[in-house]
């Protein structure tokens, strides 16, 4: 068995390797206005805005720095010929070759808009648009479960951002959908877009208070930091049962926005005391919360600073974007788990109906009823496999509880078949 010192030595070596990695791979340094120096590979520059791949050990992440925040760029600061030979597969400096895909995040957060599924699309997305491709997360959701916000934010931050250039395209991001979307640094709005109203609640419009509220606030401090946004905006969107959360702002001529948690300090009253903030597309753009308004993909590409993007997929007559293979799978899955048609509710109700009947009859009839019940139980399991949280909202069971429940039901059905 290795001693503690040996373990520490191994850990130190791993840490040193991690720390060394960025410098070994790095060529450029961006010096920011706040004094920070960020080292990595600049992959794109448009009108002073910089996109850079930065490295944390084996993890690679694309960062965006607005022109206003960049003080200086030192190119080839750490030249490494070997690394230059291992340039990324994709020549992102050629805008004509840049590919993009739209993934729609719709429905209830936690059911149709879920982290596990979003993560499952990554391999197909890599095939569709390649590393560094543009991933547009088009959001249209009225919110949902608070418990899904962090997993979704983690997926966007840790899995999608390192692989793709991720931007949000907001049709409607309300409550948990807005809280999730805060992870993205760059948001574009459809003209009808709206974003906010993040107050946590349950039951008969009862506000989340106490520990639950504080935990949510803390979570959102972390997520707004990921999206490089001022938490005071989210505070005005969340509100607080114990005090008003007004918000005002001043936009400097250079585009810098100063936010104030009161009605008077800023030149623009953003959220009056006693109200909850929801941005529309005009407000969001005016206050630099969004990068712009885009009603279609051409406008989106233009707003992003690209002359041309190859949007992958097939155009459909009812959509404003082509459906790539990843999005096609996304739509198939969402249709299956959709709460709108209440398929899971029906499966649960029918399972209970057949189970109840099976208990009340004997012989061959019982066998038929049990078989029918078993069919619906399997349907319920399929819903669980595709969307674990859907079970929470229908049967009020957590994923762990569901396994126990399923086992128990299976046993009941087997017992009913015993002579």
């Amino acid at each position: 068995m290795r001693t503690l010192n040996q373990k520490l030595a191994v850990l130190m070596t791993m840490l040193a390797a991690c720390l060394a990695a960025p410098f070994a791979a790095a060529k450029d340094v961006v010096v920011l206005d706040d004094g920070r120096r960020v080292t990595g590979d600049i992959v794109r520059e448009i009108e002073g805005n910089v996109w850079m791949l930065v490295y944390f050990g084996d993890i690679k992440k694309q960062e965006f720095f607005s022109a206003a925040s960049v003080k200086e760029i030192i190119r080839d600061a750490v030249a490494d010929v070997a690394e230059q030979k291992e340039a990324p597969d994709k020549d992102v400096s050629k805008p004509g070759t840049l590919r993009g895909e739209v993934i729609t995040l719709e429905g209830m957060v936690g059911v149709e808009f879920a982290s596990k599924h979003l993560e499952s699309l990554i391999p197909q997305l890599e095939k569709d648009i390649g590393e560094g491709g543009i991933l547009v997360l088009k959001v249209n959701s009225g919110g949902g479960a608070l418990l899904e916000i962090k997993p979704l934010s983690d997926t966007i931050e840790n899995e999608l951002k390192p692989r793709f250039e991720v931007v949000g395209w907001i049709e409607s991001a309300i409550s948990a959908a807005a809280m999730t979307s805060m992870t993205m640094e760059r948001l574009y709005f459809l003209p009808e877009g709206n974003f906010g109203a993040c107050t946590g609640w349950y039951g008969q419009l009862t506000a989340v208070k106490g520990r639950g509220l504080e935990e949510t606030k803390e979570l959102m401090r972390m997520i707004t930091a990921r999206g490089k946004r001022d938490y005071r905006i989210m505070e005005a969107m969340q509100g607080n049962p114990d005090k008003d959360t007004p918000l005002s702002a001043t936009v400097d001529p250079d585009g810098t926005v100063h936010w104030y948690s009161d009605e008077d300090s800023g030149k623009v009253l953003v959220n009056p005391a006693g109200e909850i903030l929801t941005f529309n597309s005009v407000q969001a753009e005016k206050l630099r919360f969004s990068e712009g308004i885009a009603r279609n993909l051409d406008e989106l590409a233009q707003e992003m600073g690209y002359d041309e993007v190859e949007w992958v997929g097939k155009w459909q007559s009812d959509l404003i974007f082509p459906v790539g293979r990843a999005e096609a799978e996304n739509r198939r899955w969402r249709d299956f788990v959709s709460q709108d048609n209440q398929k899971l509710e029906l499966a649960v109700a029918k399972y209970q109906l057949y189970l109840g009947t099976a208990r009340s009859v004997q012989g061959k009839a019982r066998g038929i009823m049990v078989n029918k019940a078993r069919g619906f139980l399997r349907d319920i399991r399929r819903f669980y496999s595709e969307s674990p949280n859907s079970i929470l909202f229908t049967l009020n069971l957590t994923p762990d509880d569901f396994e126990l429940w399923y086992e128990q039901q299976d046993e009941i059905l087997r017992d009913l078949m015993r002579p």
Partner: protein
């Protein structure tokens, strides 16, 4: 992207419908009404024409032309008014004594109209073969029931087949209380937005994506109250009927009153307002008008140029759009009855015109066509859309009558006798339930606009499952 329309170009339209006093003078394009002109066929035959870049044709007598402006005495019907157009907005000027350039070539197919007064359909004469086509859809009845997504989509599909140049939607939804026509702008109607937002894309996204030829979408509004108030914002141009109203969605503050915590109520109001504002923004209108319609606490004023200020009037020429509705500012019962309150905004012709929402006031279709500059030369297309809307209205009513009858029939089916007879009876019951399901699927959105009939379809599905169990047990 279209932006908020100012009040300036509306001056002409105002003059045409006699609301001049409120609209003039307006900046550089100020005009004054002249005496009502006697119709003069000879004069009309030699009228000058301005073809504007937006496709409109203005007829009248040009008084003066400068390098950047054209001063013209516009003649519409029995009215004439002097107005000014920027040269930049004009594509072509055709003087009354000259043939149009395109028509000047001998043998040109369009020569028939060269130099002539375009033939007026309104006057009983045939329009020229290339006259702009006009298609009219009437949206009347109860919003959410008669005016609901399925018939509107079907009506629009029928319109699409005709490929009109102008698609005019006449909106006149039923609105009133027990006594049917008394205006009440304070009903708790904001959630009808949830129905409106299903109709809005039919006029916007679906036209953009699917129509081979995109028409100029015109809303002519007589009553757009409650959920219907969210529809006109999709239009390229809005015209108001002299009795026209857009509103009835306040007050948001009353929504969920007394339920749960205030902060959650505020959240619910905020998200609804944000969504509704988006419809106005997408149409190129000022979202603050939606706020003024919805929030009693919202204070705003406006000036003759159509500018909105989020405060009470401070300067001469400014008027209250909405006050805070508190204490002495609270609307009186009389104001509520006459529809003159200002706690929340109900847009009426004059205000709509001044704010740039409406381009003019029109008491009938001819006046709408006058405003569009095509009264004298257009083709009115007879399509199926209005039949579709009427059929929907009738079919919904029939379905509503039929469902209770089917239910009665279901209950009257006797399940007795042999196994075969019982099975047959149960099968009959299933067929009745399936017929009811079909009616809910087809017309459920009219019975329950918020759920589209889904709950009832599923309930009936469970009943069918129960009968299937009975049949299985009979056979086992």
């Amino acid at each position: 992207m279209k932006r908020f329309r100012t009040g300036i170009p509306l001056a002409l339209a105002a003059a045409m419908v006699g609301v001049l006093a409120a609209a003039a003078p307006i900046g550089a394009l100020a005009f004054t009404a002249t005496a009502i002109a006697e119709p003069d066929d000879t004069a009309q035959a030699t009228l000058d024409k301005l073809i504007l870049r937006n496709g409109k044709v203005i007829e009248g007598t040009i008084i003066r032309e400068t390098t950047d402006k054209v001063y013209i005495n516009v003649v519409v019907g029995n009215l004439s008014a002097q107005t000014v157009y920027e040269q930049a907005d004009i594509l072509q000027i055709i003087h009354g004594d000259q043939p149009a350039e395109a028509d000047a070539e001998p043998g040109d197919a369009d020569q028939a109209q060269a130099g002539d007064t375009p033939r007026s359909e309104a006057g009983g004469e045939a329009a020229s073969s290339d006259a702009p086509s006009v298609y009219l859809i009437n949206l009347e009845g109860q919003f959410g029931r008669d005016i609901s997504p399925t018939p509107v989509r079907d009506a629009m599909e029928a319109a699409e087949k005709e490929q009109p140049d102008f698609l005019i939607v006449y909106l006149n939804n039923k609105w009133g209380d027990l006594f049917s026509e008394l205006p009440n702008d304070y009903q708790d109607n904001f959630d009808w937005f949830m129905v409106a937002e299903k109709i809005v894309p039919i006029f916007t996204r679906e036209i953009d994506l699917n129509w081979e030829k995109k028409p100029s979408l015109v809303f002519w509004v007589r009553n757009a109250m409650g959920g219907a108030a969210f529809l006109p914002w999709v239009a390229d141009e809005i015209y108001m009927h002299p009795e026209g109203r857009i509103g009835g969605v306040g007050t948001l503050e009353k929504m969920f009153e007394g339920v749960g915590d205030e902060i959650v109520r505020q959240k619910q109001r905020s998200l609804r307002l944000g969504m509704a504002q988006g419809v106005a923004i997408a149409g190129g209108y000022d979202y603050r008008l939606i706020t003024a319609m919805a929030r009693k606490s919202y204070v705003a004023s406006y000036d003759i140029y159509g500018n909105i200020y989020e405060r009470m009037p401070e300067n001469p020429g400014e008027e209250v759009l909405t006050d805070d509705g508190k204490d002495k500012n609270q609307d009186t019962m009389q104001q509520l009855i006459t529809g003159e309150g200002n706690d929340v905004l109900t847009l009426k012709p004059r205000t709509a015109l001044q704010l740039g929402v409406s381009k003019g006031t029109a008491k009938d279709l001819d006046e709408v066509l006058e405003h569009l500059g095509i009264l004298r030369n257009h083709r009115l297309i007879e399509g199926r859309s209005n039949d579709i809307m009427d059929d929907w209205h009738r079919n919904v009513a029939r379905a509503e009558r039929k469902i209770p009858k089917l239910w009665q029939e279901f209950n009257e089916v006797q399940v007795s006798g042999t196994v075969r007879e019982q099975t047959q009876a149960l099968s009959h019951r299933i067929s009745i339930l399936k017929e009811m399901q079909d009616l809910y699927r087809r017309y459920g959105e009219a019975f329950n606009p918020f759920a589209g009939g889904v709950p009832r379809v599923n309930q009936l599905d469970m009943m069918i499952e129960q009968i299937n169990i009975q049949i299985t047990l009979l056979k086992a």
